[in-house]
């Protein structure tokens, strides 16, 4: 069994920030079709702030909960927008889910994904099928729990989560939006992937690579 220490979590935020930054223009373009074209900018800003804030913590004194709470606060105050409260709540819940742990074990990572998905859902009040980031996060958390429950190792469970997120984001193309700016579009949003679900795939994939190793 591998354990994940705070240094790995700090590196995870750096990996997410790098991947989101590389993905910025694609996310803005997706958002331009059905929203206001700023999603990539907000995500880049937020994860850059989270990366810098957690990198500035004293690794000897910071536990995983501190890492996630610091990421939440810095993300929120750098961004606002919709993604700010949604990801800030996800990270605060992640921090609560691993409270008291000095390092994370496999089961903690499963709990962390579940807590993040639940946090996003509680804050945004979206249900599955409403063409939001929830359509990537919920299946990812579910697939991860199922895989872990079936005895798959952490790398396998994370891969299942990333696959489910990709499939979930793909499925948003066939959905009519129920939340967010694109909800005013009705059927005109059909055929277009939700940008929040698309960025969730990038985040989850970066988490997979950082935590699986």
């Amino acid at each position: 069994m591998t354990t994940i220490d705070t240094a790995r979590l700090v590196a995870m935020f750096a990996a997410i920030a790098a991947d989101i930054s590389a993905d910025r223009d694609r996310l803005c373009a997706l958002d331009g079709v059905i929203g206001d074209a700023d999603h990539g900018i907000a995500m880049e800003l937020g994860f850059a702030a989270a990366r810098d804030a957690v990198a500035g913590l004293d690794p000897a004194a910071a536990d995983p909960t501190t890492i996630f709470n610091t990421a939440a606060k810095s993300f929120l105050n750098a961004v606002g927008a919709s993604s700010g409260p949604l990801y800030a709540t996800a990270f605060m819940r992640a921090g609560a889910a691993v409270k008291g742990k000095a390092e994370l074990e496999d089961a903690d990572v499963v709990a962390l994904f579940r807590a993040m998905a639940k946090g996003i859902q509680d804050r945004g009040k979206a249900e599955a099928g409403e063409k939001t980031m929830i359509d990537a996060w919920l299946p990812a958390a579910q697939a991860m729990g199922d895989a872990a429950g079936a005895g798959t190792d952490l790398a396998g469970a994370l891969a299942a989560a990333a696959d489910a997120a990709r499939a979930g984001a793909e499925a948003t193309k066939d959905m009519i939006a129920g939340k967010g700016r694109s909800s005013r579009l009705g059927e005109r949003a059909l055929g277009h992937m939700d940008p929040g679900a698309a960025s969730a795939v990038t985040v989850i994939e970066a988490m997979r690579r950082s935590l699986a190793g």
Binding site: D25, C28, G32, V33, I34, G35, D36, A37, D38, I41, A42, L45, L76, N77, A78, V79, G80, A81, S82, S83, G84, P85, L86, R123, G124, K179, G180, R181, S182, S183, R184, L185, R188
Partner: protein, 335 residues
């Protein structure tokens, strides 16, 4: 190809704009120490007065920060371009304008703004500051009439803020200020048309595509797609289509009174706005509706988007009284 803008650094555009605003309007506004995205009126707070906090994304100037001043909003929380401010500057605004009579949040109905302002309100409740929220939902193109609560807030913010700011300035009770804000919103109807996109300072790429001879009716102030896209029409035809839709909801009677706002989305010039207004005035006169006051110009923009919106604010004695109440803000004066 990137669009041309007079900026230094896209990532710093909002903060550099704020420096310019503060330099130009020191008599009206100040930024809070330690919270530069909280713009507060010089006169605030006043003991016993309901504090009015507005806010939202940048790029709509003079909405929102231009309406901070005596007789209108007490403070504005400033977000990034087209993005809600986070809770912190909202909280600082509320604390700075709290006169002990409650704080009213009034802003456009967008998912991001609602989440951030609600988080701020939850945290303020822990400090015993009572916050109530009135969302503006004047964009009639953004959802059907029976789903008014889903509609966006656009240029009609102007009338809702004006009425609410007047109610607060007259030291009315928290209940009364909230009631007047809701009523002003219920009496306000806006629809817009877009002719060309804008581009965000950070990307400098058009935020949507529109054919050279096309226009889009009902497009939102962040480029959210509207209701119909088609060939460019004349000013009269556009004004007629918007007025017809507004009348369909407002159901005016002869003798009604309205205030009118013909607003540029950014790059549409006054000439075109006044051409639109000449048709609006004609239609109102034909319907036997009295025009109490008209504003024409840049009131709620979408960066350099080309296009315009028309807002009718249906008046009764009370709303007319609030509209005529004097105010003195950095970018707007009345009375």
């Amino acid at each position: 190809m990137q669009t041309k803008k007079l900026i230094n650094d896209g990532a710093k555009a909002v903060d550099e704009m704020l420096l310019g605003v503060l330099a130009a309007h020191p008599r009206h506004v100040r930024a809070l120490e330690g919270s530069p995205r909280s713009i507060v009126a010089r006169h605030a707070p006043r003991p016993g007065k309901v504090g009015l906090v507005v806010g939202g994304g940048s790029g709509h100037e003079p909405t929102f920060l231009g309406f901070v001043g005596k007789g209108l909003a007490d403070a504005c929380a400033v977000g990034n371009v087209f993005a809600s401010p986070p809770p912190d500057p909202i909280i600082e605004c509320a604390k700075a304008v709290n006169g002990g009579a409650g704080v009213l949040f009034t802003y456009g109905n967008y998912a991001g703004d609602v989440m951030n302002f609600d988080m701020a309100a939850e945290m303020l409740a822990m400090d015993d500051i009572e916050v109530r929220t009135v969302l503006t939902t004047d964009d009639i193109a953004s959802a059907p009439a029976d789903q008014r609560h889903k509609r966006r807030g656009v240029a009609g913010n102007f009338f809702v803020f004006k009425a609410t700011g007047a109610a607060c300035d007259r030291m009315l009770s928290f209940d009364e200020c909230e009631r007047i804000a809701r009523k002003a919103n219920d009496h306000t109807f806006t629809m817009g048309v877009a002719l060309a996109p804008c581009s965000l300072p950070q990307t400098r790429r058009p935020n949507f595509e529109l054919g050279e001879d096309e226009m889009e009716m009902g497009m939102g102030i962040h480029g959210e797609p509207g209701v119909t896209r088609g060939p460019l029409k004349s000013a009269d035809a556009v004004a007629d289509e918007i007025i017809d839709r507004i009348f369909g909801e407002m159901v005016p009677s002869r003798g009604d009174r309205v205030a009118v706002l013909v607003n540029s989305l950014g790059s549409t010039p006054l000439m075109e706005l006044y051409i639109l207004n000449s048709r609006v005035a004609q239609r109102l006169a034909d319907a036997g509706i009295q025009t109490h006051a008209t504003w024409v110009g840049n009131y709620c923009t979408s960066l350099e988007m080309a296009g315009a919106s028309i807002t009718l604010h249906r008046l009764d004695g009370e709303l007319q009284d609030m509209l005529d109440h004097p105010c003195d803000c950095a970018m707007f004066r009345a009375g």
